[in-house]
């Protein structure tokens, strides 16, 4: 952390997006996380993604629960709407906000504690409802805010800073979420923005629940030797399987690829994700094959990353629940509050 505010000075030739904004316009407050925290790099990737997607900051809703990870929405898009919810309950808040206004971009930032322990049930149901949002788990394997106890994602055999060995198997959010019916499940690493930024961009454009598990080393409690979530360990066992390039609707690049080498998949708004296979034998559109592959290589200690599973046939919450297409805030009063007479009629149906 730093006590100083980031200087209000912009590079004289800082690139501007289509809205005439620089990356600096997508920043938030100064981070109070530890110096070198992976979460700050994810924050930077989020800033980069919204900036390059030309999203107006005030068209974004950012939500979180409790934990180091859940502090991070304060550090990006200070012009966005936001709520910091009860521990693990961010998906419920997101569902409510989503139902009230489907025109905004929803991004939730959570951690391994917030999502895989206290909020595991919430995560599962957000996934089941296919809530239209991007859900990022900043995963470092420890409870940093409470001084470094193992979290539910700590790997078997990993050593804590003070020497304890973890003897419980981890919950792997990628495997769990594919198994639970996720429609967009990815894994990234805070130290690889070239991979992470297109994943975030594609996740924001995905119609449904996009989950990205981002390995984000905790420099203070989990970056030592014998930690399996350190910068050094992650880099050593890091294996991108599928590289996803995000291609905005306006971009005409449609290069031809050899069959099997790359595939382009269209998102709902005309943008594309181009999936390039970095490792043989991985198919991100086949749920059972993907699970088999992940289980096999994770057992070997390899950290498989990329867009791990994607499909677009499952309807999202809005179609299932037939939510209002017009944001509730834009409905005229008569429709929004039809009056006591209408209420009585509805109640009549249940008598």
């Amino acid at each position: 952390m730093s006590f100083m505010r980031k200087p209000d000075v912009v590079h004289s030739r800082a690139p501007k997006n289509d809205l005439g904004l620089t990356r600096r316009d997508y920043e938030g407050g100064m981070s109070t996380l530890c110096a070198g925290c992976g979460h700050d790099a994810i924050t930077a990737a989020i800033i980069e993604s919204f900036w390059s997607l030309n999203v107006e900051p005030h068209r974004v809703v950012k939500m979180s629960g409790i934990g180091c990870s859940s502090k991070t929405p304060a550090y990006f898009l200070s012009d966005a709407h936001g709520i910091n919810s009860v521990h693990g309950r961010m998906p419920s808040i997101a569902a409510g906000a989503n139902a009230a206004n489907r025109d905004l971009h929803y991004i939730g930032v959570s951690g391994d504690g917030d999502s895989l322990s206290i909020g595991y049930g919430q995560l599962a149901h957000a996934l089941r409802r296919n809530l239209n949002m991007l859900y990022i788990i900043e995963n470092n394997g420890v409870y940093g805010l409470t001084k470094g106890q193992f979290s539910a994602s700590a790997d078997l055999g990993t050593k804590a800073k003070k020497g304890d060995i973890n003897e419980q198997p981890p919950i792997d959010p990628v495997i769990a979420c594919i198994a639970m019916g996720g429609t967009f499940v990815a894994r990234g690493f805070s130290g690889d923005k070239a991979q992470l930024v297109p994943l975030i961009q594609a996740g924001l454009k995905h119609k449904g629940f996009a989950l990205i598990d981002v390995l984000s080393p905790c420099v203070t409690f989990n970056d030592h030797e014998d930690s399996t979530k350190s910068y050094a360990h992650t880099r050593q066992f890091y294996h991108p399987a599928i590289h996803a390039d995000f291609i905005a609707p306006a971009e005409p690049i449609r290069a031809a690829y050899e069959k099997g080498e790359a595939m382009e998949v269209e998102l709902f708004d005309g943008s594309f994700i181009r999936l390039r296979k970095v490792r043989e034998g991985y198919d991100p559109t086949d749920r059972s094959k993907a699970l088999t592959y992940l289980n096999e290589y994770m057992a070997k200690g390899e950290i498989i990353t990329g867009l791990m599973y994607w499909e677009k046939s499952t309807p999202d919450l809005h179609s299932i629940a037939r939510t209002s297409e017009t944001p509730l805030s834009k409905l005229d009063y008569g429709r929004l509050s039809p009056g006591a007479g209408k209420l009585a009629k509805i109640q009549e149906r249940y008598r």
């Binding site: 100083m4 505010r5 912009v10 070198g36 130290g191 970056d223 880099r235």
Partner: protein
């Protein structure tokens, strides 16, 4: 790219744009910090070490530092470096006990300096403390050279000039006033161990047009300013035309206003973008209601019955492409009435007093051949500096020449090779005081450049000696000093410590940093976080990083030295370290005594 060799003193020196641009390499950020701390005497001495005349230069320097200032690239206007120098001079406590002194015991070497201007005085300043007997010959009855004769007293008061000159002369310089050297040969025959020529560029250029010599109301600018300085001239006609638009022209027009003129026009041949005068000197003249007339090409002086009536000009039109004039044509002829004309179209050096058969070679332009490093001409032991070496420059260049010539003279007199000069040095020292604490003011202050207060337009014309600029007030300079970006506090990177967490890259407010795969410079510049289009600014490239073999690249262009990269680094791979450039002077050169066997044994 190869990893950057930051051990080469020039790398970090170049990052300090102001200091690199200053011919005398004044340690600007250091003295600005001292002013911020209220250490005015220290700030003055830091200046004096490099530029010798802080009070003078704080008023009239051509300030090559300011266009170079990094603040001008990130924030429009550079730091008011020059006027802060004056603050050091104005607010300093008594520093007389800190001035250099000459030893009682002399080293037996005699040096003659010709012309008592800034170059010769700098030579004397550097050599007197080493035990030299320095004699300065001056043709006028006062020392100072162009600082006295060409810079009007409303810009540079006489007492400021005298005080800083006397600091040198009072070391015991043998100053011979009213002593014009008319023969180099005769002077050489007097057996000096070295001779330094610092006679400036004393000849104003002529404009030989019809009518030039039919009246006595046409003046050569620098001669006329000199006559004003010595009070030989104290009036001029009401309507004055100044021909030329350099800094001398600005001094001429403003002087005219103080001698009775009320309609002064500066006649320029070309459009404003082609003016030679510094922008701030133009502004000062225009504030005094001097009219600057562009595109007027002088054609003839109109003299009737021995009386100057005015001048005719060709009104020009120029075709300009990419900032260059590609064609011109005359629109019409115009007549501009006037009572006096002052010619300020340049000046040159002239050496009628140097015999051509004494081993001093002259080139095709009748200028002496002078070595750019040693300042020695083709005759060993004879050195040139200031405007006399290569034509008109500014005071700060003459001072820089004086320092280097003094190095040569010292080595020459000690029997050392004058070409084997000591290299520049560089010292680095961490400024870390605590977790989030640095020994410099690292926060960026967004304040705008302060304006120097001036005497009102009514008051200033009452007397030619009224100094127009008042200098910064305490309230003003305390703001201005915080605008300095402390470019000498360097971002120093240790590749083996980096864990590639991206913290520094993400926090940098001006996107200076990138971790990427190495490549050629032209390629790398296209792959950085912010466009690295300023090719004059260096790229720092680290050793390969341990995890991925990529490199850390820093574009120095718009780094504001806020230190956040170092604050955010979990492994202290970045540190903020103060660089101190050491530019060797005469006193640093080894003398035979330093290298003698007895000395080594002792």
């Amino acid at each position: 790219m190869e990893p950057t060799d930051t051990k080469n003193p020039d790398y970090f020196h170049k990052v300090v744009d102001c200091q690199w641009a200053c011919p005398a390499h004044t340690d600007v950020p250091q003295y600005i910090r001292m002013i911020a701390q209220g250490r005015f005497g220290d700030a003055y001495m830091v200046n004096r070490e490099s530029n010798v005349f802080p009070g003078i230069l704080g008023r009239v320097c051509d300030r090559p530092c300011e266009p170079a200032c990094r603040r001008g690239r990130v924030d429009d206007k550079p730091v008011a470096i020059c006027r802060l120098k004056r603050v050091a001079a104005d607010f300093r406590e008594d520093i007389s006990h800190r001035l250099p002194t000459a030893p009682e015991e002399k080293n037996g070497k005699r040096v003659a300096c010709i012309g008592a201007g800034c170059a010769s005085l700098t030579v004397a300043n550097d050599l007197m403390p080493l035990g030299y007997e320095v004699t300065i010959f001056e043709r006028f009855d006062k020392a100072g050279g162009l600082m006295r004769t060409n810079i009007p007293s409303f810009r540079l008061p006489e007492n400021v000039l005298d005080e800083e000159m006397n600091a040198i002369v009072d070391m015991g310089v043998d100053l011979r006033l009213n002593h014009e050297v008319t023969s180099m040969k005769a002077l050489l025959d007097e057996g000096y161990d070295a001779v330094f020529v610092g006679t400036g560029a004393p000849r104003g250029k002529e404009l030989n047009l019809p009518g030039r010599h039919d009246t006595d109301r046409i003046h050569i600018g620098i001669d006329w300013l000199e006559s004003v300085a010595f009070k030989h001239v104290d009036q001029i006609g009401e309507r004055v035309l100044i021909i030329g638009v350099g800094n001398t022209a600005m001094d001429c027009c403003r002087t005219s206003l103080r001698l009775g003129a009320n309609d002064v026009k500066v006649m320029a041949r070309k459009p404003r973008d082609f003016f030679k005068a510094s922008e701030w000197e133009l502004e000062d003249a225009e504030e005094e209601n001097v009219e600057i007339v562009i595109n007027h090409f002088p054609k003839a002086f109109v003299v009737e019955d021995g009386q100057l009536k005015g001048m005719t000009f060709d009104l020009m039109e120029y075709d300009i492409e990419d900032g260059r004039i590609v064609d011109s044509h005359v629109v019409k002829e115009v007549f501009v009435p006037c009572d006096d004309v002052v010619l300020a179209i340049g000046q040159e050096n002239a050496f009628p007093w140097i015999e051509r058969d004494i081993g001093i070679e002259f080139n095709d332009w009748d200028m002496p051949e002078v070595d750019r490093t040693t300042f020695q001409c083709s005759r060993p032991g004879v050195f040139f500096g200031g405007d006399s070496a290569w034509g008109p420059e500014n005071i700060i260049w003459a001072v820089a020449h004086g320092h280097e010539a003094a190095v040569s003279i010292h080595r020459h007199c000690m029997g050392e090779d004058i070409n084997e000069r000591l290299p520049r040095g560089m010292n680095l020292q961490s400024t870390k005081m605590g977790l989030h604490e640095w020994s410099f003011s690292n926060a960026f202050d967004g304040s705008e450049r302060r304006l120097v207060p001036q005497v009102g337009l009514q008051e200033r014309f009452k007397n030619i000696d009224i100094e127009v600029e008042l200098g910064f007030t305490m309230e003003q300079f305390t703001v201005e000093v915080e605008r300095c970006l402390n470019c000498d506090i360097q971002t120093v990177f240790a590749a083996p410590k980096c864990i590639e967490c991206d913290a520094c890259i993400d926090v940098c407010p001006t996107h200076c940093l990138t971790i990427t795969h190495n490549g050629e410079e032209a390629d790398l510049r296209t792959r950085l976080s912010a466009p690295a289009e300023n090719l004059e600014q260096q790229l720092f490239v680290s050793e390969p990083l341990i995890h991925t073999g990529r490199v850390m690249v820093k574009d120095e262009d718009q780094c504001v030295h806020c230190g956040l990269c170092a604050e955010r680094c979990p492994t202290a791979a970045w540190d903020m370290q103060k660089s101190l450039v050491h530019v060797p002077k005469a006193e640093d050169q080894p003398t035979p005594a330093d290298v003698s066997p007895e000395r080594k044994a002792g």
